[in-house]
Amino acid sequence: MGKKPPANPELLPGTLYLLILRTLRSGPLHGYAIAKRIKDASEQGLDIEDGSLYPSLNRMLVKGWLAAEWGISENNRKARFYRLTPEGRKQLAREADVFDRLVLAIQRVMRTA
């Protein structure tokens, strides 16, 4: 399966989980809203392929980081809302920490000669 040439940098593998967890920190959202918010928050710097969103969401459901239930969206349609579980919050903290340290380490390497 071909990938379209990235206009924006590709996500490091595994960071999609981090982004989704962070996005849901302030409250439950449905799938479309999650994608939109990530795009907006990164000021269009990240363009995730919508097709990879739902597999990741479901994997996080299996792992117990998220819980989902059907509700009514702002445009009066039936939509599935995802929210963080306590285990999800812990996972967010863990992954954010790992990510920060990784970025710091890479930055240090880049700054050396």
Partner: protein
């Protein structure tokens, strides 16, 4: 823990697949439409907005699959897919599937039957805790077959040995049992046991208590009984208030102290064992028998002894210790213990009766294993023949990226499906003879329903399924491995066919040819073995039952066991005399006699007799020869005068007369009995062997009825009409003579013999079926191989015929291979047989003691004797040659059919089809 939760979450998906798909669709629809609305708000026209939204979303099929796989157990999904694929593939080739499943089923079925018999009678551990600690103590002697132990000997071992945690002795008793004093007594079996019986076996009563040690100390004092669960239900209606009540056993009142649980099964699951209804202390049994012999007489051996080894004590040490004690006893009590020793046996050895039973079991399992081997070769061959066709498919899947492990898993799943089919067919096939046998055992003799100890139970099922699995994996996986290793390029190019090797010899040694050759060879061996056993048992056992030497019709037998004979010694003797006399005066009775058997040690006054010999001894009264219709060749039978006073006359059978006085008249000759008394021969009866089946003619001596020592007494009655009509009149006579004497079940001889014959034939036919089935399987294998060769060489045959070859040449070409296979197979079979049959004859012909040629006649055992012999006289080299020729002919026939098909190949059709 989190893994467990994850598994639980995933499990929630399993039942809701379609709902999940629908919800995902809804969610994606919502996503796309919301984006479309957003675009519309930015001014994009609706149709285009929707299109763009869809495009932005990306490929949905892939996404759906990825999403679903987040929830699935991957291996379950794979397994399910493999299973349905395999099932479809099998359904598309029904011939192959049927052949494979049936072959496997027959092989598994044969093993199912044999294992269920061997397991039920030998292997299955008794339902007691730590069964491998339980052993049996038996006595052995150089000059006798008795293995039971006497009480004083038992007590000596119990007191002097250190190896046993507990040692218990018991004897079965058949008594009149009345649930309440005054009720009509029924004949019930029980066991007289030492006080520690239940402790040694590790079982506690479910109600009340078992015996206290004090209760088994003084003979005849403590009259307590423990009931079996079944008896408690039947006789006392499972009433808990039965405890403390009295039951009358053989006219003596016993107090009921406890009830055993339903699952308590006796350890000696003997084929002849009836389940005990009650247990009484061994010392109390002296009251039942009316004599102290049971406890005091060291020479009377009638107890079975079981013990539990002390933890950590090996069998060898226990054996050595017991042997030492027995040696000491031999010195201390030479009159009773001369040449006697004692030995500790495992339960399997005990149940099998020594080497003979184990050998029989081994032979049975080997026969079944051979059938399975032939069947598996068929399955392997069938799978191999499919291999080239599958090779293309496998090569393609390998080429597009399927991993080898994945493919192997799929082939394994196919094998599993095949094994499952084979197991189901196998258990069904195996169940038939077992069910028939059980039906026979319980219905043919309604007076004595003894269910057989073997059945298709859980152990047998597990064994059968395991065997099917093992067979398929061993014989099916090998072709599978070879298939996955295929060279992709050449396989794809040649369309699946591999190049046939050149030359007849090279062709001969190809894998499948060796397989078929082996099949034919093994089936010949199988056929020889089963035919030999069949002939031996038929000629010996069945024929002698059909010709027992006396008249069987309208004959009734009633067996009195010593423990249920009410009066003892002199009064018993008088009772039976009176009984016979009264019976003669009863309407409908033609003749009657009382008889008991034992081993008689005699010395005939003849130059051919150098020492005391053991013969079959029959003690009886004057009506005996009339009652049974045994012809008297010379002299006369017994008369009333002969029966009073000590024995001074005897009748011998013609075998004995010819043995010791060949060419002379045996009348007037003298024989010395073991009592030292001399008797005159007054008659010669024509009977080869009395109540001994399957044995060669036996020396038999008939003596006047005296006082039997603890032996079964049989009342024989010849009736004028239907013997069953006499049962009630006989009971009336007995009751009249002695109201407290219980009358055991009466058996018409005809029915008994019919049952024995039916049983023997059932066993023989099952055995014979295995031999025939083995051959059939081998033939199917041969036919399959050649048919496959023909169809895979259709192109070549078409070319040959187009070039001018005549059909006869083509047939000859195929037949060549078939004949070569037949010759090799039969040749290998003959070679196999040469060595093995000699071994087999040696084992079967002399009951395990070695020696070839004609079998030794078995020792008389003083009662109904059943022997199975298969000497070289039942199946010699002539029979073998006939068998070889028959197998050869049938094999050629199986080869000829595909050859004919080859001849009918139309070259046009063959060359066009590709």
């Amino acid at each position: 823990m989190s893994l467990l939760k994850e598994i639980v979450r995933r499990a929630g998906y399993l039942g809701r697949r379609s709902q999940f798909d629908r919800e995902l669709d809804d969610e994606v629809q919502f996503h796309i439409e919301t984006r479309a609305e957003e675009l519309q708000r930015e001014g994009v026209p609706p149709a285009e907005a929707l299109q763009r939204a869809r495009r932005e979303f990306g490929p949905r099929a892939r996404m759906s699959e990825d999403t679903r796989s987040a929830w699935q157990f991957q291996w379950i999904e794979d397994f399910w897919r493999d299973l349905s694929y395999a099932e479809r593939a099998f359904r598309k080739s029904p011939g192959f599937t049927a052949a494979a499943v049936l072959s496997l089923g027959i092989g598994v079925g044969a093993n199912c039957v044999m294992f269920s018999i061997v397991d039920g009678t030998l292997l299955r551990p008794p339902r007691v805790p730590r069964p491998n600690e339980v052993v049996a103590l038996v006595s052995t002697a150089l000059d006798s077959n008795t293995t039971a132990v006497s009480y004083p000997d038992y007590a000596a071992v119990r007191d002097r040995s250190q190896s046993f945690e507990g040692l218990t002795a018991f004897i079965e008793v058949s008594t009149g049992f009345a649930a309440r004093p005054g009720a009509v007594p029924l004949v019930k079996n029980g066991k007289a046991v030492t006080a520690d019986f239940f402790d040694v076996l590790g079982s506690r009563p479910e109600l009340g208590r078992s015996f206290l040690p004090e209760e088994d100390k003084v003979p005849g004092q403590d009259l307590v009984a423990v009931l079996s669960h079944q008896c408690w239900q039947e006789q006392f209606g499972a009433d808990p208030a039965a405890l403390g009540k009295q039951a009358r056993i053989n006219g003596i009142d016993f107090t009921i102290a406890g009830v055993m649980p339903a699952r308590f099964a006796d350890v000696d699951d003997d084929l002849m064992d009836d389940n005990a209804c009650f247990f009484v202390p061994l010392q109390a049994a002296t009251r039942l028998a009316g004599s102290m012999d049971l406890i005091e007489n060291r020479g009377q051996r009638s107890l079975t002894v079981f013990g539990r080894l002390r933890p950590g004590v090996p069998m060898g040490r226990a054996r050595a210790e017991v042997a030492t004690i027995a040696g000491t006893l031999e010195k201390e009590y030479p009159e009773t213990n001369r040449n006697r020793s004692m030995i500790v046996r495992t339960l399997i050895q005990f149940r099998s009766g020594g080497a003979a039973g184990i050998t029989a079991g081994a032979i049975a399992m080997t026969i079944a294993a051979l059938v399975l081997l032939i069947a598996c070769a068929n399955v392997a061959g069938l799978l191999t023949s499919r291999a080239p066709a599958r090779a293309q498919e496998i090569a393609m899947r390998l080429a597009i990226g399927a991993g080898r492990p994945r493919l192997i898993r799929q082939l394994l799943t196919e094998s599993l499906l095949l094994a499952a089919g084979g197991a189901v067919v196998g258990v069904a096939v195996g169940y038939i003879p077992i069910a028939l046998a059980q039906h026979l055992a319980t219905t043919v003799l309604p007076a004595d329903p003894t269910p057989l100890p073997f059945d298709v139970d859980l152990r047998v099922l597990v064994f059968s399924v395991g065997l099917a699995l093992a067979s398929v994996i061993l014989f099916g996986l090998l072709p599978a491995f070879r298939a996955t290793r295929a060279d992709l390029n050449s396989v794809m190019k040649s369309g699946g066919a591999s190049a046939p090797p050149r030359g007849l010899l090279a062709r001969l040694f190809r894998g499948r040819n060796v397989l078929v050759t082996g099949q034919v060879a093994i089936s010949l061996l199988l056929l020889t073995t089963t035919t030999m056993l069949y002939a031996g048992v038929y000629k010996g056992f069945v024929t002698s039952i059909r010709n027992p030497g006396f008249q069987v019709d309208r004959l009734l037998a009633i067996d009195f066991e010593p423990s249920n004979v009410h009066h003892k010694d002199a009064r018993a003797e008088q009772f039976f005399r009176d009984l016979v006399e009264r019976l003669y005066r009863t309407k409908g009775v033609r003749a009657a006699a009382v008889v008991y058997q034992d081993v008689a040690t005699i010395r005939p006054d003849s130059p051919l007799a150098h020492d005391d010999v053991k013969t079959a001894g029959v003690w009886t009264g004057e009506g005996f020869f009339d009652t049974l219709g045994i012809p008297i060749l010379e002299g006369r039978g017994f008369q009333t005068a002969d029966l009073h006073g000590p024995a001074s006359v005897a009748v011998v059978n013609d075998v004995l007369a010819k043995h010791y006085w060949p060419g002379q008249n045996a009348i007037g000759k003298q024989i010395r009995l073991s009592t030292g008394q001399w008797v005159n021969v007054i008659g010669v009866a024509q009977i080869k062997a009395y109540m001994a089946f399957g044995t060669p003619p036996m020396d038999t001596i008939f003596l006047p009825y005296g006082r039997p020592k603890q032996r079964d007494i049989r009342l024989l009655v010849r009736s004028a009409a239907d013997p069953r009509a006499l049962i009630d009149p006989i009971r009336a006579v007995v009751r009249d003579l002695d109201p407290d004497q219980v009358v055991p079940e009466a058996m018409p001889f005809q029915a008994m013999f019919d049952a024995w014959i039916k049983g023997a034939l059932l066993g023989l036919n099952t055995l014979g079926a295995m031999g025939v089935l083995g051959l059939v399987l081998a033939l199917v294998g041969l036919y399959g191989l050649l048919a496959y060769e023909v169809s895979s060489r259709t192109r070549e045959i078409g070319i040959r015929m187009a070039l001018g070859a005549r059909s006869g040449a083509v047939v000859r070409m195929v037949l060549q291979q078939g004949i070569a296979l037949a010759v090799c197979g039969v040749g290998a079979g003959v070679a196999l047989n040469w060595g093995l049959v000699k071994v087999l004859l040696a084992i079967l012909g002399s009951g395990g003691s070695g020696g070839g040629g004609a079998p030794k006649p078995p020792e008389p055992n003083g009662g109904n004797q059943i022997s199975f012999q298969a000497g070289s006289d039942t199946f010699g080299p002539h029979g073998f040659t006939i068998l070889v020729i028959a197998v050869f002919i049938v094999t050629i026939l199986a080869a000829w059919l595909p050859a004919r098909r080859a001849a009918r190949v139309d070259p046009n059709v063959a060359l066009r089809a590709e």
